[in-house]
């Protein structure tokens, strides 16, 4: 069965998210896989990307040799600023986040629960050094939270679960989940599958998910 499935690549997942971002949206992209989303905004649409370290209007990555140590994103990688961008200090940046001014945030996940709980900052292991960054501010401040993640861990454990076992970033905060197998909406009735990768069966998806799924 699994041999027949052509999973969605990271780029295809990013493209699906980009297509769900409406014209004129202010968007915050988390570190890592979420950053890919910026590459796939459909032509004719304009989204303004926010980075919590003080820039509204992230442009394309700079070409080699054009990097500026003082123009970076939340992942501390060099970026550029579009025409019409603005710089601001950290308290203003998080006023944009907490104050509900950012429309959409795309984040990675360790686990997502069927109730929309997100765990993405700590595995809770005793020897791990905890680091949270801006994730908790984003999930509470931004009303639409898209999660982009592999459906299972490298060892095949489901990442979509009934209840998160890792420490929470926020409770009931996730709007929609995009994985390499499916796109699922968090609804009051549980997870509703709205799209599946071609070739996958609902049985296979259910077997790789530790939460209840509703199919159309």
């Amino acid at each position: 069965m699994s041999n027949e499935i052509k999973e969605w690549s990271r780029e295809e997942m990013a493209r699906m998210i980009a297509e769900d971002i409406p014209d004129g949206a202010y968007v915050n992209l988390g570190i890592g896989m979420p950053e890919l989303v910026a590459n796939y905004i459909p032509e004719g649409r304009e989204a303004i990307f926010h980075t919590e370290n003080g820039l509204l209007g992230i442009g394309p990555s700079p070409s080699a040799g054009q990097e500026d140590d003082e123009l970076i994103n939340a992942g501390k990688r060099p970026v550029t600023a579009i025409k019409g961008a603005s710089f601001f200090h950290h308290a203003d940046s998080f006023a944009m986040v907490r104050g509900g001014h950012i429309d959409i945030c795309v984040l990675g996940a360790f686990q997502v629960s069927e109730k929309g709980d997100l765990a993405n900052w700590s595995t809770g292991e005793p020897d791990a050094i905890p680091a949270v960054g801006g994730a908790m501010d984003l999930v509470e401040g931004v009303s639409t939270i898209y999660v982009i993640t592999q459906h299972t861990t490298k060892s095949g454990e489901p990442k979509i679960v009934e209840n998160c076992t890792y420490p929470l970033t926020g409770k009931g905060v996730v709007t929609r989940i995009y994985t390499n197998y499916a796109v699922m909406d968090v609804t009051p009735e549980g997870l509703k599958v709205i799209k599946m990768v071609p070739g996958i069966t609902s049985q296979y998806l259910t077997e790789n998910t530790a939460a209840g799924l509703k199919f159309n």
Partner: protein, 236 residues
């Protein structure tokens, strides 16, 4: 005549005392006042509580200050980054205290401290381990966590342009925590790559008004932390 410009890094950090709380600007390498931090290492004040978003990279700047055992407590949001080696080692030995604060809460705690607000309620961290032991209150049917404003004895801040009044302009995303840290500290010590004549900075574009700044030192060509890291430099 008001003139906040001092002649040396040594003079800039000379008042920092053992046990002081010191805010240090920067987000990764952007805005990190490396020269001021190295001057603080030379100065030698110990048992410091440092408020900064990260814990420094490699063996320079904030990482070197921690490695030199001058910091007893870190208040920060993201203590481990790809190039952070010193803090993890000392933390795992139990030799430095960590207060982990969500990044937006950290920024707002500093802003509030500087604005005379002792505490505030935020939705950030509600229902998570970081809200444990904190007062939670409901407003309009939603839960909020009480957080305290943060103040400091000193701030070390990097900027691009300053004048003798202490009016400051920053460079791109190196602004980050600088403006709120200047507000929240009794004495904000700033390194600036350019010194402008009073009146040459348009009042409409001043980012940090001079009232929040105590000392300015001119560092025309600040080192790049990235280059120091590539060269595997250590300080001292």
């Amino acid at each position: 005549m008001i003139n906040k410009i001092v002649n040396s890094l040594q003079e800039a950090v000379s008042d920092i005392f053992d046990g002081a709380t010191v805010m240090i600007s920067g987000f990764g390498e952007a805005g990190s006042p490396i020269e001021l931090i190295h001057a603080l290492i030379d100065h030698g004040a110990k048992n410091l509580t440092v408020v900064s978003n990260n814990t420094g990279n490699g063996h320079v700047g904030l990482a070197a200050l921690i490695e030199n055992r001058q910091v007893s407590k870190m208040i920060c949001s993201f203590p481990r980054t790809a190039q952070s080696v010193v803090f993890p080692e000392i933390y795992c030995k139990g030799e430095i205290e960590l207060e982990l604060v969500p990044q937006g809460t950290l920024a707002e705690r500093i802003r509030a401290g500087g604005a005379g607000i002792p505490a505030f309620y935020t939705p950030t961290s509600v229902n998570t381990p970081l809200a444990e032991g904190k007062e939670v209150r409901e407003f309009g049917g939603r839960q909020y966590v009480m957080e305290y404003g943060l103040k400091a004895d000193f701030a070390l801040v990097k900027c691009k342009t300053a004048d003798r009044y202490g009016n400051l302009l920053y460079n791109k995303t190196a602004r980050n925590f600088g403006p709120v840290m200047c507000m929240a500290s009794k004495s904000a010590i700033v390194q600036s790559s350019e010194i402008a004549e009073a009146g040459d900075i348009d009042p409409e574009i001043v980012v940090t008004p001079g009232i929040f700044v105590s000392k300015v030192v001119h560092i025309p060509n600040p080192v790049s932390e990235n280059i120091l890291l590539k060269e595997q430099r250590r300080y001292p």
